[in-house]
Symmetry: C3
Subunit: 156 residues, 3 copies
């Protein structure tokens, strides 16, 4: 028998947090349309606390920014789990990630930062975690955090 | 009987402009695929006139940038109305908005700016106006305007 | 009889390169879901070589950046061709492009740059190449290239 996603997450000891609360009343954190689940851009918050504030290449280094992308990825998973009746076992595959990175003008290792979220998806979903992706270095994210990750999942 | 979206818009006195013209011959302002309508990134133009040129935190303040997001949102609605046979009554729900904000390096109230468009969607569509969202602070938009908003609608 | 897309490409002499290789093991360059093909953000690489490194308005001018967008567009087509059993003849239409441009603070001809990719789509697919679009000026792309283009195609 194939291991379910949730069983794999438990076995690997990946700690997916509770889904971060709404930032504003009119925003949905996740939304299913047909067999696609859209997840709003997630910040690297830890619970309700801001973390990873700043820019990579200024006050944060590549490793810290990659950790922030991993944390944003955990929040993406938290939102997906909360939105799906069967939790992450309802995920068939990860279709797309977009990763936005607040960076200094000279910093161009944007893809390496976003890998923090991409690697998490493969860790959690195996082959079903491979996805299309765009990665961009920008000026600022909401609240001044260093990374924002949005996602599309194929779901049951 | 439930009030239609167009009736609600009329009752609330929301003035949706004529759909801004194409910026280039090869671009479509809106495009239906299955039950999804994709709307191209809309600028805060007023008719054919550029407005809200600059960056928030430099020559524009939060309130002005939020007004620009509201104006871009009106143009999103104008494009959707023009593209749908039944106008905005063909909208079932707002699925996703992406808001891009030209900002100074120190300005991080990106979400507050994009709320100008998000609040408009809820004003117009009620509960069906809640949506997933990403918001980013970037360097420049086309023509140097401060905000660009793109959207996905679920439609009949 | 209508000319196929591949026949038109051959007749016009448009040279679509081999699909650029994966930048990272966990990323897919293209992914079909239902009748939609999502293509990951493509850089203006020529084969495995980086080119068009820098920012428009700094070390690159509008014309060079537009050429970079054309080159990124060719790589989008290369990925789509490699991902579809019938090659580009399986494309029904281009639904959406997003164009990201690394630019100097004073440079606002973002749309003109992205036209390099948009015009290519119309050249290749004719009327089926018209698409919705967003265009943004940002700080940096992966590897410091000047343009990144992502795409959605309606496919058989």
């Amino acid at each position: 028998m194939t291991e379910t996603h949730e069983a794999r997450i438990a076995r690997l000891g990946i700690q997916i947090p509770a889904a971060p609360a709404l930032r504003a009343a009119k925003i949905q954190m996740a939304r299913k349309l047909g067999n696609v689940l859209y997840v709003s851009g997630q910040l690297p918050t830890i619970g309700s606390e801001l973390s990873f504030v700043g820019r990579v290449g200024e006050n944060l280094d590549l490793n810290q920014a990659k950790q922030a992308a991993y944390r944003s990825g955990l929040n993406v998973l938290a939102q997906a789990r909360a939105a799906l009746p069967g939790g992450l076992d309802d995920v068939i595959s990860v279709v797309n990630l977009r990763g936005f990175v607040a960076c200094a003008a000279h910093f161009t290792q944007i893809a390496e930062v976003v890998n923090g979220a991409s690697e998490l998806m493969v860790e959690v979903f195996g082959e079903a975690g491979a996805h299309t992706r765009s990665a961009l270095g920008v000026t600022n994210m909401p609240h001044g955090v260093v990374v924002e990750i949005e996602a599309m999942f194929e779901v049951r």
